[in-house]
């Protein structure tokens, strides 16, 4: 059984930001050109040292995400509007919150999770403002994004909850969300490459849950994989998620259904999943890993040959200032 530890709490808007991929032909990074032998020597040694240092860094921590200027700036702009909308909603300025959420929805590139939150606040604000037709349209957008999304209106207003669930009964046939049923997913602090991930889901509340299923995917894939969990005791289900093949993050959520197959409760959601970091296997010491020696060899030999090449007076092409800097043209 896994040790119960806190899992990352899903936060609206805290979605992985896609890293932009240049349409260019992949190219290796090239050293900066040097005009003199001394400068060339310095450049190669710096390159070698940097490469060696990076190998040590890779051995300990996953690589940080690269720059993602355009999507990040769009995401920040959306987040700014969402924060305004949340604040105004808390301050009971519902028309102001509506305006802020509409601005968020109009930002190009707004993510599905951000749209979900914006529509949710819009719907709640419209219910408060007695604009029922607009509230219904907003919550229909919510259900289009995720039919089983549990609305988390900050004040816990029963009026809004009644409105949402009455509408959900009309448009989602297999939903029977029970606010008294809570799922708690217990995951290890991190997954390891090539090792299955134990998962335990505890159910609190009325005994209406007949089955629990986990859905999992690496964060760079679109398709969710279903993993049925087995009941191990009253109110507890367990199973193993498939072993991740690579480092990165796993996205997970669990879904409980009643005897009629209707969704009763969830831990995490498809658009706001639980996130589990995947790390390298930790049972192999650094000095016994082949890639460490390969990296050391590459650094040493590249530095040596580089110095030799530089000493022979060979020229290298300059790196450009426009991304990706250099483009190696493919062989026809």
């Amino acid at each position: 059984m896994p040790v119960p530890v806190p899992v990352p709490v899903p936060v609206h808007g805290a979605v992985p930001v896609p890293v932009p991929v240049h349409g260019a032909v992949p190219t290796p990074a090239a050293p900066v050109p040097a005009r003199t032998l001394a400068r060339r020597l310095g450049a190669y040694l710096t390159f070698a040292a940097a490469l060696f240092a990076s190998t040590l860094t890779f051995a300990q921590e996953p690589a940080a995400e690269g720059p993602a200027d355009a999507p990040v700036s769009a995401s920040r702009e959306v987040e700014r509007h969402l924060e305004d909308g949340r604040r105004l909603y808390r301050e009971l300025d519902f028309p102001g919150s509506v305006d802020a959420m509409r601005r968020a929805l109009n930002v190009p590139g707004v993510s599905a999770a951000q749209r979900l939150e914006a529509w949710e606040y819009l719907g709640a604000a419209y219910v408060v403002l007695d604009r029922e037709a607009e509230a219904e349209a907003a919550f229909r957008e919510v259900f289009a994004l995720d039919p089983y999304h549990r609305v988390r209106e900050p004040s816990g207003s029963p009026k809004i909850e009644r409105f949402v669930e009455a509408l959900r009964r009309q448009v989602v046939s297999d939903a029977a969300l029970d606010p008294e049923v809570e799922l708690r997913a217990l995951l290890p602090a991190a997954a390891r490459v090539d090792r299955p991930v134990p998962l335990r889901v505890e159910v609190e509340g009325p005994p209406s849950v007949a089955s629990v299923e986990a859905r999992v995917r690496p964060d760079d894939e679109r398709e969710w994989r279903s993993v049925p969990l087995e009941r191990v005791e009253e109110g507890a289900f367990e199973g193993e998620l498939p072993a991740p093949a690579n480092r990165g993050n796993l996205e997970v959520y669990a879904e409980a259904r009643d005897a009629r197959g209707r969704v009763v409760s969830r831990a995490g959601e498809p658009l706001v999943p639980l996130v589990l970091p995947v790390r390298e296997r930790d049972d192999v010491p650094l000095r016994r890993r082949p890639w460490v020696w390969v990296a050391v060899g590459v650094v040493v030999v590249a530095a040596t040959v580089g110095i030799a090449v530089a000493a022979a007076g060979r020229e290298t092409a300059p790196n450009g200032t426009l991304p990706p800097g250099q483009v190696t043209l493919p062989l026809r």
């Binding site: 016994r288 060899g297 090449v309 190696t328 493919p330």
Partner: protein, 411 residues
Amino acid sequence: MSWTRRRASFGVAAWLGALLATGCGDERALVLRLETEAVAEASLCLTAFDQELLFSERYAAADATGTLTFLAGDRTDETLRVAARLRRGGRVLAQAAGEGRFGAGGSSELRLRVARCAETTALPETPLGTSVGATGLLAADTDGDGRDELWLSHPEGVRVLGGSASSATRVLGVGDSDDDCLDDVLVADATGLLALPGGERLTASAELAVLADAGRGLGLATGDADGLRWGLLDGVMRSLTGQPVRDLAAADLDGDGVDDLVAVGEGGVAVFLGGPAGPVAAVGAAPTGWAGQRLALLDLDGDGVDDLAIADETRVRMARNRGDGLFEARDELAIEGVRALRAFDADGDCRDDLVVVADETRIHLGGEDARVTAGSSLGALVDVVAADVDGDGRRELVLLDAEGQVRTWSE
């Protein structure tokens, strides 16, 4: 891990290191020095071409000044063709292209400047080919080599000049519909609208179609006797008006970064200003009482926003855009039987001039406040288009005459 395996790993590494270091040695390279006019809301598409597309990348126009190095790698070619196009929405605002030579054992340079009013030399009058029976002409660079191909509408099938025919019969518009930095050509066949050369089916058939920047993506407007329709390329089309439409154009008329639409028919001129929820009718934006069959949006007075030209049975009328999408009537020309209105900077003053395709096709040079100051005659033509056929960054006027002959025009 045993020492034997460790040594083997080190040996493999040595090989890789040697390859890496050798690869960093003498490199045949072409360094592109790119200078781009920073036009708001515009993007720059950069492509490299040598018998096939080798590279394409899109940059924000404001960030598209700098250098980029092309390494020949293992290619034996001596030259590389590089093209840069400044785009906003579906349209090209400016372009530049050139051919660079890889350094024999080092780097050489290619300089390109992309600006809306770059100085270039005009191509002398040159015959380009013949397509007997062709009924219309459009220009598009669909392969990214920096030279426009000429697409011809033809009753026996749309074709590129000198190429084979497709099943479609009419070329309607040009734009980058799939965001790959290459022009796509909108054509109509019996079943609907297609984007060539990919063949993606867009919507039901229509007489007219234009691509427009909707702010949140690319939109498509279509028009015919049933009215004007609009939708995002990946969305649902909705009706903007049921009034019959005879001609249609899109441009950012109010400077908000979102394209607006103008449609004309016998019932009048309708202006739709683009916004977050799509185009909205701007009542009273066009001069009252105007109607017609053909229209063009072009910057006649050089103030950076497009003005309006409308042709009816007997005349061409022009209106100046105040800068907010509202038009003031200015001038008119008495010309009958207008088949098309086109924009083309004939005199190189960075202002559009109006080409009126009629029984006697004429170019009217725009002046201050869109007043007509001069005109020149080209004879009887079927269609004309502004196209960069030689890839030097300057567009030439290309003429299609009644015999199907296609040629560039020179004063």
